[in-house]
């Protein structure tokens, strides 16, 4: 029998970015809030301090800040008729566990999606015609426009202290400092709060070649703060030291924006806000007659089951855990790939990654260890809205960037193709190329395919006895065309960079759960205009239970060729605004169908 806690106004499932955003806003508006984080408490001091934090084995290889798959994992298969098998170790993606979630160990690359992406179905049909794409390219409109979201993008950039150059397009002359930015980005109401990062040698070599080829390089927008900065709440950041321990690590310097640095202190300052760590939510409870959520059941650190009643539930877990918990709780209609009907689990998307390596073979000292998570120079000439697809037969695109994030040697020891995988030849190649190689990342969009979805596994269970989420995913044909097209452009840039050898890692034949690609899992509880093809409305409110909001990258109908966190933060503030200023004043559906 579960222990029954005192009811609260709002319960938040998760302790990462979106829960931090909602928790602070709800608490400051006077609502009683309980946030339930499955992992431990952790703070910049003492948990992320050096020298202990600078441990590649512990954090990058053994994944100490991440989800423990012995407690909860996914099963995985490439195709609907294959038998799914459990992801027994982390690999392809690295969800966080513990306060701050994955926004503790992210890189800080803080992008906006392009305006066209939010109405992708309509944009493609208007621009290229209704028959341009096969019906297997299951893109949808978001039900929300870039212009609606723009103020929240800007707000989130100011929360994080994002540094970058706004673009210099003639229609944006009112934005101060507008030069050297991305000419393909959307309208911007305010410049970035901070200047961009310094440029690394990798970035400079890429920039020179890209300019020579007529492209438009600019510094990657970075939430590794570039100077002392105080955000709108009063959170203080310090400048990035370029230590090269960013992705997979917590930031010791108060430089990289995280929930615990930027937002959570101002949630915790409210007496009506309570954070409970080591509290793993196993079910959203709901009333079948009244069609409302009644609270959540969780297992606490002692292993005891607890029921937390609440008038409002926000599902703020990691992207794919959102649809999984909905399915485990029996909320909504599960998506069925055979009929393409149902919504929960629909449109799971990811990121389509490839890369190019330029080997200078001892002729240049790159010093890759002088890095930062968002230290990079990029071009967006080949992101979706920047070029014409009409003769190409696909939709979407990718940015191409030269990042210099780290030289941590267990995972970074590039060797040219043709090198043996071990032995003397390998060892001597590692010694020769470690400090003399530049990588280009081709960071591609991911479009939905009817086969790709999240469901529940029929065989395997988690540590609480609930069915594992089951991921069915392979790279769609559309994205394969996109990736090969943009990767060939990156290869041309690579050749223009003057190395002795250029290698390409093309998109593999099939998606694999094993090698790390990105932690940019998106979709599965998508937003939209139509309850028959989306789980939540444009405010991220469930179509089924009006007091359940599902706030995560699970809401993306398709994932753009950008890192998703900037859009996630913007969406969380967009949703928080609607919750606090509309919903809580008059609970009910905010969109009527």
């Amino acid at each position: 029998m579960a222990t029954r806690m005192k009811p609260v106004d709002a319960v938040l499932i998760g302790g990462g970015l979106t829960a931090a955003v909602l928790g602070k806003e709800l608490a400051e508006a006077g609502h009683s809030v309980v946030a339930l984080e499955r992992g431990p408490m952790r703070q910049t001091i003492p948990d992320f301090q050096s020298p202990g934090m600078h441990d590649e084995l512990k954090y990058s290889v053994r994944h100490s800040l991440m989800e423990d798959v012995s407690v909860q994992t996914l099963s995985f298969r490439n195709f609907p008729h294959q038998k799914a098998l459990p992801m027994r170790q982390l690999g392809s993606f690295l969800p966080g566990s513990g306060l701050g979630g994955a926004m503790v160990h992210w890189n800080g690359q803080t992008w906006r999606f392009q305006p066209q992406w939010f109405r992708l179905r309509s944009w493609v049909e208007e621009k290229y015609g209704k028959n341009f794409l096969s019906d297997e390219v299951a893109i949808q409109d978001w039900g929300l426009t870039y212009d609606e979201l723009e103020p929240y993008y800007s707000f989130f950039e100011h929360v994080c202290g994002t540094g970058g150059n706004p673009h210099s397009r003639s229609d944006m002359t009112d934005v101060p400092g507008g030069q050297g930015g991305d000419p393909f980005e959307g309208r911007r109401s305010k410049p970035y709060p901070n200047p961009p990062m310094k440029q690394s040698y990798s970035g400079r070599l890429f920039e020179q070649a890209a300019q020579k080829l007529g492209y438009h390089p600019f510094p990657v927008p970075s939430s590794n703060n570039t100077r002392h900065y105080t955000n709108q709440f009063g959170a203080k950041f310090k400048p990035c030291m370029y230590c090269g321990f960013c992705e997979t690590f917590g930031c010791e310097h108060f430089s990289k924006a995280s929930p615990q640095v930027a937002i959570l202190p101002f949630a915790l300052a409210n007496k009506n806000y309570e954070l409970r760590t080591r509290s793993h939510v196993t079910k959203i409870e709901w009333d079948r007659q009244k069609k409302v959520a009644t609270g959540v059941t969780y297992v606490d650190g002692n292993g005891e089951e607890v029921f937390q009643p609440a008038n409002f539930v926000a599902l703020c877990a990691f992207a794919y855990h959102n649809p999984v918990l909905m399915l485990q709780s029996g909320i909504g209609t599960p998506y069925d790939p055979k009929t393409r009907k149902g919504t929960v689990g629909r449109n799971y998307t990811y990121q389509t990654m490839s890369s190019v390596s330029i080997f200078y073979d001892g002729e240049k000292r790159i010093n890759p260890f002088m890095g930062a998570g968002a230290l990079g120079t990029a071009i967006c000439d080949f992101n979706n809205g920047s070029f014409d697809h009409s003769k190409l037969g696909f939709v979407g695109g990718a940015y191409i960037a030269a990042y210099q994030t780290s030289g941590r040697p267990i995972e970074h020891h590039p060797v040219p193709s043709g090198t043996p995988r071990w032995g003397m030849g390998w060892k001597q190649a590692v010694a020769r190329h470690y400090n003399s190689t530049v990588h280009l990342t081709v960071h591609g969009s991911s479009t939905p395919h009817p086969n790709n979805h999240i469901s529940l596994d029929p065989t395997y269970t988690d540590a609480y006895g609930n069915p594992l989420g089951m991921l069915t995913f392979d790279f769609p044909y559309n994205d394969r065309l996109m990736s090969n097209y943009v990767t060939s452009k990156a290869q041309e840039i690579g050749h223009a960079m003057g190395g002795k050898k250029v290698d390409v890692s093309w998109l593999p034949e099939h998606y694999s759960i094993v090698p790390y690609q990105t932690t940019h899992n998106t979709g599965g509880a998508i937003m939209g205009e139509d309850p028959s093809t989306s789980v939540v409305n444009k405010y991220l409110q469930s179509w089924d239970l009006h007091n359940l909001w599902v706030v995560g990258a699970s809401a993306y109908p398709q994932n753009d060729g950008y890192n998703p966190t900037g859009t996630l933060g913007a969406l969380a503030y967009w949703a928080a605004d609607a919750i606090v200023n509309k919903y809580m004043k008059s609970p009910g559906p905010l969109v009527h169908t």
């Binding site: 050096s50 600078h54 441990d55 084995l57 995985f76 370029y242 090269g244 040697p409």
Partner: protein, 262 residues
């Protein structure tokens, strides 16, 4: 707490970070039982010796397993005339401590059945074994296969070329083992060898920071804000290990403590 014990605490804390299940401090002399065993372990440790306080005690491998692993890893990363290989770097001690701790036990792996050893590679590791059982099972079967094919010789008695042939046979699945797909073991061994060669010396491998010196990685402690935009910069700072930094901090702390009390 006096300064001596505080310093020791920090040193052993660095070591314990490697694998929390391991008893804190180890003696410099190999000691897994009898004098004969100690001598064998010492032979297995070879040139790596134990002059740096990291120890050459084996927590997991028996002597023969250790001889196999040490011989194999030194073919995966062999010595050349400039830089030591995996044996000199103490990779055997790294792997041994990893297997003796949480990693070896599969502490953060999902190990529930049913298992499907014939799963396609896209679905990842699907064996029943946590790493330490994978090693123990595979090493026994590889040694038996080598004895069968090489006049009853052990792997470590083979010439380097023949050892490489055996390793290649494991890598490509040409040598079939009864219980374990040989490429799965080979890839695990290769990954752990690379980890041990390049990981912080506090974990028992990368002795004298040999791997970091070879490539020019400055190690754990780093701030490059003033250098990152100085292009093509020759940068050859002495690398720093976690244990070294901790020891330095302890020393500084001791000094402050002492001068304060005088």
């Amino acid at each position: 707490m006096d300064s001596f014990s505080r310093r020791n605490l920090l040193k052993s804390a660095g070591l314990a970070g490697a694998a929390a299940a391991i008893p804190a401090m180890v003696s410099a002399a190999p000691s897994n039982g009898s004098q004969a065993e100690a001598e064998n372990a010492s032979a297995a440790s070879g040139a790596s010796g134990s002059t740096d306080g990291l120890g050459s005690f084996l927590f997991f491998f028996n002597t023969e397993e250790a001889r196999f692993v040490e011989a194999a890893v030194d073919r995966l990363i062999p010595p050349d005339d400039k830089w030591g290989g995996a044996k000199m770097a103490g990779v055997i001690y790294f792997i041994d401590r990893q297997l003796a701790g949480g990693y070896g036990a599969g502490a953060h792996m999902y190990l529930d059945g049913p298992w499907d050893p014939n799963a396609p590679p896209q679905q990842g590791y699907q064996l029943r074994y946590p790493p330490k059982e994978l090693y123990r099972t595979a090493i026994g079967e590889i040694r038996a296969a080598v004895r069968d094919g090489h006049n009853n010789q052990e792997f470590w008695d083979l010439s380097p070329d023949v050892m490489d042939k055996v390793l290649t046979g494991l890598e490509h699945g040409d040598i079939q083992l009864k219980s374990v797909p040989s490429p799965v073991f080979f890839e695990t061994l290769l990954a752990n060898t690379i980890e041990g060669y390049f990981a912080d010396p506090a974990y028992g491998g990368n002795r004298d920071m040999v791997a970091w010196r070879m490539i020019g990685f400055p190690g754990a402690y780093a701030q490059y804000v003033g250098l990152v935009d100085k292009y093509d910069l020759p940068y050859a700072r002495e690398p720093l290990s976690l244990a070294g930094v901790a020891a330095e901090a302890a020393a500084a702390d001791d000094m402050q403590h002492k001068s304060g009390s005088l």
